[in-house]
Symmetry: C2
Subunit: 148 residues, 2 copies
């Protein structure tokens, strides 16, 4: 199998990010980790994913230091996967994926899970791109400056 | 080839979103569209992607109404791909991917492209998950309520 083209050396942070995390299963594993899932068997049950694919995705997420392997909290022989700080910093990506999905991929009457603030039980604020002063920006109001 | 498992009927908006957009090339095509790229040959040159894969990804993005096909602005026989409103609404996802990449995937001295506000030429505000009142939330301060 030819080696997948990577963007490891790319100057674009989006390209490097999708290289690391732009895969359906990796994103869903991270979602599950945010939901408190930590064991192989739980990921497997929740995602309905072949064990070899799950193994390989978990291994990649550990190699990228998004997940770390810890001994099981209950002292058993199992081990657990936990988000590192780098992994927890994916939160805004997951929330923006969720909000886009909520806005565009469900019929009006169609139920979907919701992400709520623990304290108030209310939905979170919509993530919107803003300038340094907090003014919301349209895509046309931002531009990429490439490296010289 | 077995049909890829989809999450079309999923109750989780993240699962539906990654189904539609959680693919390296789709995300990079959308990134390029935000950067003003509109023609097949430009996407191809910029992404260095095999034509058949680019065709298939563009077709999927059009089928999902993220891109639309328009006659070329210059009146030539070519056509162009443009982001729809649904596509432009992916902006927060792309910006959060970029910001995570900037924060975690570059060495301190390593140069990378930057996304700037057209008006002030300054970097954008960091996207942070917040409650309805605007208070920034840690991942542990939010929870998913599943559909009953």
């Amino acid at each position: 199998m030819p080696k997948r083209l990577t963007h490891e050396g790319a100057e674009c942070p989006v390209a490097r990010a999708v290289d690391v995390i732009g895969d359906r299963w990796s994103l869903l594993i991270v979602r599950d980790a945010f939901d408190g899932i930590s064991r192989f068997s739980e990921f497997q049950r929740n995602l309905g994913l072949a064990k070899n694919i799950l193994s390989s995705r978990l291994r990649e997420l550990v190699a990228h230091e998004i997940l770390e392997v810890l001994p099981a909290a209950d002292g058993s022989a199992y081990h657990e996967y936990a988000l590192t700080q780098k992994g927890r910093d994916l939160f805004a990506i997951l929330v923006s994926l969720r909000q886009w999905g909520e806005g565009h991929l469900f019929d009006e009457a169609e139920p979907h899970s919701v992400l709520l603030d623990v304290k108030t039980k209310r939905p979170l604020r919509k993530l919107e791109v803003a300038d340094a002063a907090g003014r919301i920006l349209e895509p046309s109001e931002a531009f990429v400056r490439k490296v010289d």
